[in-house]
């Protein structure tokens, strides 16, 4: 049973279609990246998952159930736009949200204290939110999302607005919760975080799914790029679609080589060996998610 399932989900706001026939599944226990540019439909999709808004059509399953507040005991949510009750203390805030998710008062307070201690805010438990620094308040906000040790944690642009220290803290928490078996879905448009954390990812463009799969599969959508040092041009070798000469020395020349999409650099190396094609260097440069994002989403948005 997937932790989260969206089946042909569409959401219209008046004339505007925000999410268009979106289908994907998040497996239990995986860290799933929900990537897309601004206005791609990420937040709308997550709000539908949380039953804050309802889809125009399609089906959503969350931990095997339909969306609704009865799931809140198993859910954690950190919205993109964050805020807290200014006049409540840090501990009361965490306790309040813990209780809204079905925890007893004692459990919520105990867990709240433990989280504040872990985040280095043990001494500020009884300080009002408006007396905390922005960074401290962000930690409290994170604590409200995970106080109930959620089975499914949904993070909407969790790294936006965080300083590098808090970004590190959040990454650690995501890894910790993942190790404990939680399923984590987070949206972002900062690819470095996705690269470090995601088992699988989904790329959203104009409300439609542009890609779903592992990072390797995502990278495979880009033509492989190689740098080789050889005596003769690699143009004409199987799979090579473009060659650029970068200069040479002592009879050896450096070439930038682009392979056809889906072509395996290993196959090219094997052909070179079999044909006695002299090589002094064979270097594969791995495309980043950023490149993949620009390749897939940039193209979609460019076409829109």
């Amino acid at each position: 049973m997937p932790a989260l399932l969206l089946d042909s989900v569409t959401k219209d706001f008046g004339e505007k279609r925000a999410v268009d026939d979106l289908s994907f599944a998040v497996r239990d226990g995986e860290v799933f990246g929900f990537l897309g540019g601004n206005g791609a439909g990420k937040t709308t999709s997550l709000r539908m998952v949380l039953d804050i808004i309802r889809p125009t059509s399609g089906r959503i399953e969350i931990l095997g159930r339909t969306p609704g507040r009865e799931n809140s005991a198993d859910l954690g949510f950190l919205p993109e736009e964050r805020g807290l009750y200014r006049t409540m203390t840090a501990l009361d805030t965490i306790t309040y949200f813990g209780r809204l998710k079905g925890m007893t008062r004692n459990d919520a307070r105990r867990e709240g204290r433990a989280l504040l201690d872990r985040f280095g805010l043990g001494g500020s438990a009884n300080t009002k939110i408006d007396k905390l620094s922005k960074g401290m308040a962000q930690k409290v906000q994170l604590a409200t999302a995970i106080v109930n040790a959620p089975r499914l944690l949904i993070l909407d642009e969790p790294f936006s607005g965080l300083d590098p220290v808090n970004q590190g803290l959040l990454e650690d928490e995501i890894k910790r919760l993942s190790r404990q078996g939680a399923t984590i879905v987070f949206s972002t448009h900062v690819m470095q975080h996705a690269e470090r954390l995601c088992d699988r990812l989904l790329l959203l463009a104009q409300g439609r799914k542009a890609f779903e799969g592992t990072q390797d599969a995502a990278r495979a959508t880009l033509p492989a790029r190689l740098t080789i040092l050889s005596r003769t041009t690699p143009a004409g070798l199987p799979g090579v679609v473009a060659v650029t000469e970068h200069g040479g020395q002592d009879g050896w020349t450096e070439w930038g080589v682009s392979l056809a999409p889906g072509a395996d650099p290993g196959d090219l190396l094997q052909v070179c060996t079999e044909r006695g094609f002299a090589l002094r260097r064979f270097e594969q440069s791995r495309p980043s998610l950023h490149d993949v994002f620009l390749h897939i989403v940039g193209g979609e948005e460019g076409r829109a």
Partner: protein, 497 residues
Amino acid sequence: MTNPILLVAAREFRQIAATRSFWITLLILPLALAIGPIASHFMEKDHTETVMLIDPSGQAAPAIAERLALDEQRRVLTSLSRYSESHDLDRADPAAPWAQHDRYYSDTEVQTFARAGGADHAAAVMKRVAAADTPPFDKPDPDYRIVPTPPAIAASNPAALANMLPGLINPPKKEGEPLDYAVYVPGNFGSGRSPVQIWSDGAPPGTLMIALQDTLTRAMRLRFLEGQGVSPDMADAAGRIAPMIAINRPSPGKGQEQMVIRSILPLLVSYLLLMSLMLSGSWMLQGTIEERSNKLIETVLACVSPNQLMYGKLFGTVAVGLTMVAIWAGCAIGVAFATQGMIADFLRPALAPLEQPSVALAMIYYFLAGYLMISMIFLTIGAMSDSFRDAQSYLSPVMLLIAMPFAIIAQAVLRDPSSVGVRIMSWIPIYAPFTMLARLGAGVPLWEVIGCGVTLAAFIAIEFVMLGRVFRASLLSAGSKPNLARLGRLMRGRDVE
């Protein structure tokens, strides 16, 4: 698991109760009620006004003074009579004038009463049969007191008096004895050449004018009759002829007086409803605006549904309002118990409407219904506003619409609780709680209580459906202020995302 509605309500309550303004407001009303009477006691002008009689002939002044004293004794006697009737003390001396409640006391009766020892003697007689908790008789202050006429004034002619007296009547700097009225009676008054003159700072009171006119007219008639050859005794007897006038009115605490007293508690409840609504509503408004402007709403909505949030906020606000009312009522009851006597005497008839369970139930119903109805409006305004300034543009017309007619309703109810205007207001849902609360003390037909109640309930149900749609639609649409057309569409269930 605690119901999320209760959790939201409890948080709302705690947030409001933690504010300084809540506690200040809570204390202001009892303080104002306590300080008001004390302040007015100190600021109040002495009831007894002073009169200076300037009478060169020395004949009119004693008669005027005697007449004023007689009128004063009549007031005391009338007051004693009401006291005796209120506390069932007539049996102490059934033949005494104060035990006769149905007539205007003649001069002879008043003189007999005064000669027998006046109020002090009567009070002593009554005390023999009075219950232990009967408050003592509080003798009214006299209306007028005659002050001595300084020799310099007594010897002055009218032209000199016209220069001297205006400076002595309520002078800016009080020097010596204050003087309210000066009356000059020339020796040949009534001859047409020398008028009786009065100096006053304003229009002289009717009672003083009647006393002067009666006394001087009688003296002129005596002179006239004696001039016509009538013997002085006969002329005097003719001057004293007066009809016996019977007065039929309800006993104390009945009739119009009863209606006013019985309407006081309902009117007060109606006023408290208005006060606490305005205050707790504005606090709830601030809370909702904070949730929107602090971008809290999405976090909250991930845990509770918009309806749970809406009902939680409403219940929290109602709890705040009821707490305020309960504390104010507790203070009032505490004061009543502490002071006993007059306040308890007043409270007993004022609380009489509550002796009927149906009236008490109706009051609770209309109070709660009014609270829910108006709070829902405040809540929706809060959900549509990103700042308090935003909210003001919706709030001002709503406040005017709700609060302005209150004063008119209160006055109209005291004048005639079953007038057409008041009855029409009872059927208009937004005014029904205030109007019905104010009317209940004076008695409202059962069909009207139920009819207005059902209409109000139906209106609240429709209001909750329509404003609930606006509330839910507005929660997540920060930065966009709906215009009237969009509000209408949202209420009809269109444009809902």
